[in-house]
Every structure is written in structure tokens, then in C-alpha cells.
């Protein structure tokens, strides 16, 4: 996958939650090799912004641009290049870790047993591959969700509080994954209120204000 010219841009996004005007004219752009960290106090609209980018929440006004074209009308194409890690891990407790990846990440890209195993190994839960997701710890579930993100092989990562439930090693893993991703020319946008890659050269900040 080439990430040339894969610039993501948000132009004057306005969004509401019920009666509250949460996002007011939010504009920013992210280039390949950049990690944009969205910060701000609770309720300021970090999740709202990320969901608007994913198209999971309609913006009142504003436009998203990807590779120099408006996303409107080309959602499925854009979505295919977008990897999303939300608050929810999107796991089925009755399925094993491997099956979870097969049935969910497999919708996007054709997977082989080797790629699944390699990815499970990368996030450090290879030995848990055949356990039902139900029996994984909260941190392991988050790692499994990260594996799904990796398998999506997307150019643009949208991460909502990616380090929730993770221990120090887990946080370091997320940092490594993000750095790897952007160094390969990928883009990442994350909402986080913890420390996350705070000193990395690829970091840019977007501070949302109430």
C-alpha cells in the first residue's frame, strides 16, 4: 500500500450532541508520518470528533478530505483505508481470539493462519489464541483489539483512548505500534488523556477547548 499523498484533512467540522454544540469549526490536517493526539478535558468532544471522522456520527456542517478528494460519496473506499479502535473492543466472548480476528478483521483483508499468528505474537497474546475471548483479561482483550487494528492494514488509524486497561508494557506496545505505523508512512489520530508518545518527534497536538 502506498501512502503517497495520503493527507487527511478536516475542514470546519461542526457537530452537535443533543442540544449541545460540541465541535465548533474544528479544522486540522494530518500527513503521512504524523501522529495527531487529540486532547482536552472530558466531554469536550474527542470521541465525537473521532466518530465524525469515521462517519459513525453525522456532522452538521464541514467536510473531510482524503487523498485530495472529499470523502463524501466515497465512504466505503475511505473506510477501507481507515482502521478504528473505539471504546468497545468489538469482541465476541464465545469466539476464540483467533476466530475473533478471522471473522472481523477477515472482512477487510484476506487473512492466513500465519498472518493471524504473527499479529497475535506482535501484541503478545499468541499463547491465548485458542481461548475464548470471554476468558481473557481486560488488558488482553484490548491487545486483541489492537491485533484487529493491525490486520486491517489501514493507512489512517483512528484510536479512541487506545491505552485503556493496558499496563505499562501494554502502553509501550501501543507507542511502538503507532511509531512503526507512522514511520512506514501511515497516519494516526488518537484521543487520549494519559501520556502517550508525548516526546515523540512525530507527535502533533490538537487541543479541543470547551
Amino acid at each position: 500500500m502506498t501512502f503517497d499523498g495520503a493527507v487527511f484533512e478536516a475542514r470546519a467540522i461542526n457537530a452537535w450532541r443533543g442540544d449541545r454544540h460540541i465541535l465548533r469549526d474544528v479544522s486540522f490536517s494530518v500527513r503521512p508520518g504524523e501522529f495527531l493526539k487529540v486532547t482536552g478535558p472530558n466531554g469536550v468532544g474527542k470521541t465525537t470528533l473521532l466518530r465524525v471522522i469515521c462517519g459513525l456520527l453525522p456532522a452538521e456542517t464541514g467536510e473531510l478530505w482524503w487523498r485530495g478528494q472529499s470523502v463524501r460519496g466515497r465512504r466505503d473506499e475511505f473506510n477501507f483505508e481507515l482502521g478504528h479502535l473505539g471504546h468497545l473492543n468489538s469482541l465476541k466472548g464465545d469466539l476464540t481470539a483467533r476466530e475473533n480476528l478471522k471473522f472481523l478483521a477477515g472482512l477487510r483483508t484476506t487473512l492466513t493462519a500465519q498472518t493471524i499468528d504473527a499479529t497475535l505474537d506482535r501484541v503478545g497474546i499468541l499463547s491465548r489464541g485458542d481461548l475464548p475471548a470471554r476468558s481473557l483479561s481486560a488488558g488482553q482483550k484490548r491487545r486483541l483489539a489492537l491485533a484487529r487494528l493491525l490486520l486491517a492494514d489501514a493507512a489512517l488509524w483512528i484510536l479512541d483512548e487506545p491505552v485503556t486497561n493496558l499496563d505499562t508494557a501494554g502502553i509501550r506496545l501501543v507507542e511502538e505500534l503507532i511509531v512503526d505505523h507512522v514511520q512506514n508512512g501511515g497516519l494516526a489520530i488518537a484521543a487520549a488523556h494519559q501520556r502517550l508518545l508525548d516526546d515523540a518527534p512525530c507527535l502533533r497536538r490538537l487541543e479541543l477547548e470547551p
Binding site: 452537535w16 443533543g18 454544540h21
Partner: protein, 243 residues
């Protein structure tokens, strides 16, 4: 082609003002026509040679039955426009239609049932038209129940729009299936009379009443639509003047 006039018209403050000035015209015209049609239908039109004066129920039954279908189609079209072109005003119009349509459907059912008593000798007959009306009432009730179950008006708009579109595709199928069904089953009680053979003198008040009901619908929709527009508008400054 310029669509600016359309956008201007569809902009909430404009629509709000225009509806406000249109409503009284609709209102008074409908009042005049309905009163005229009532007088014509009850007094001037000759009695039916078979049903006597009982047939005069037709003048309220048929227009309300017509309006119940008409309103559903208007509602579905508005919902479709709102869904496809993301026009809030269209969603608001669909929302405004539902209770009006439901009330007309109820009226058609009630007057049909009252008319049925002298015609068939029972209050309820499973004939095709009444059954269709009953199912239409269920569709309206479902639509309104779905709308009411969402807190967020935007989601309510779009969810109920999907339902209205599925419903409007179904209405002809329901209609056809019910007709087919009722031709297979003869009603238990035999109709006492033939269909009223309508002559022109009987038809005029019917048309007057239908037009009167249409205007009444225009009035009621304008009024409700103004409310729905206000509910959907979030911050605009024009609200200060409007409210």
C-alpha cells in the same frame, strides 16, 4: 439551473415565516368549504334511493379515507426527501403529517363502522376497505411509536423515515392482498344494499368536502410544521424573533 430559490425556501426561518402567513388562508378556506360541503351534503343533495339519508355519511367517510392514504404518501415522500438529501425541513414535514394522518385514518374507520351498521346490520365487517384502513392505522401507530422512542430528534427523523419508506412500498401490497382476500371470503352478513349509484348532484358535495379536507390538511400541516421546525433548530438567532 439555480437551486438558490429552493434552498432559500427550505431554510428554516423562511419556511417558518411563509408557513405562518399561509396557514390562515388554508384555515379559512377549508372552514368555508367544509361548511359549504356539509350543508350541500346534508340538505341539498338528494337522498339515495336505496339507503335513504344514511348514505350522507359518505361525505365524511370517503374524504377521510382518501386523506388517510394521501397523508401517508405525503409523509413517505417527505421522509424519503429528508433521508436522501438530508433536508431537515422534509423530516419535519413527515413528523407533522403523522398525527394528522392517523386521526383521519381513525375517522375513516369510525365513520365506516357507523355506516356499516345500517348497511350490513353489524358494527364491524371485515370488508376490504375497512380492513385496509385498519392496517393503515397500525402503520401510522407504529411510525409514531418508533418516532417517540428516540430521544434525539435527528435519529428519530431518519429511523422513522426508513420505516415510512418501507411502509409506503408495502401499502399497495397490503391493499391488494386485502382486496384479494375479501373476494375469496364473502362477508357473513349479506350487504343489504347495492353500491350507491352516485349521480352528479351527489358528487359535487363530495368533491367540495375532499378539497375542504385537503385545505384543512394544509392548514394543520403548516401549524405543526412550524412547531417541528422550532424543535429542530438549535441555536439560530432568528429563534429570538420567532419565539
Amino acid at each position: 439551473m439555480s437551486w438558490t430559490w429552493f434552498h432559500k425556501l427550505a431554510s428554516p426561518p423562511h419556511a417558518y415565516r411563509i408557513l405562518g402567513s399561509l396557514a390562515p388562508w388554508f384555515g379559512w378556506a377549508s372552514l368555508a368549504l367544509i361548511l359549504l360541503a356539509t350543508w350541500w351534503g346534508l340538505v341539498k343533495a338528494p337522498a339515495d334511493y336505496q339507503q335513504g339519508d344514511g348514505f350522507r355519511i359518505l361525505y365524511v367517510h370517503a374524504p377521510s379515507a382518501w386523506m388517510s392514504m394521501f397523508t401517508y404518501v405525503v409523509m413517505a415522500v417527505a421522509a424519503g426527501v429528508g433521508l436522501v438529501w438530508r433536508i431537515k425541513l422534509a423530516h419535519a414535514a413527515a413528523a407533522a403529517c403523522a398525527p394528522i394522518g392517523a386521526s383521519f385514518t381513525f375517522l375513516a374507520l369510525a365513520t365506516g363502522s357507523i355506516w356499516g351498521k345500517p348497511m350490513w346490520g353489524t358494527w364491524w365487517v371485515w370488508d376490504a376497505r375497512l380492513t385496509s384502513e385498519l392496517l393503515l392505522l397500525f402503520l401510522y401507530l407504529g411510525y409514531m411509536a418508533l418516532r417517540a422512542s428516540f430521544d434525539d430528534p435527528q435519529r428519530a427523523d431518519r429511523a422513522s423515515a426508513v420505516l415510512a419508506l418501507v411502509g409506503v412500498i408495502n401499502v399497495p401490497i397490503i391493499h391488494y392482498s386485502v382486496n384479494w382476500w375479501s373476494t375469496l371470503h364473502q362477508p357473513a352478513s349479506v350487504t343489504k344494499f347495492d353500491k350507491p349509484s352516485i349521480d352528479l348532484a351527489m358528487l359535487i358535495p363530495l368533491f367540495l368536502m375532499i378539497i375542504g379536507f385537503q385545505l384543512y390538511f394544509g392548514w394543520a400541516v403548516s401549524r405543526r410544521l412550524r412547531g417541528e421546525i422550532l424543535r429542530r433548530e438549535r441555536n439560530a438567532n432568528w429563534l429570538k424573533e420567532a419565539a
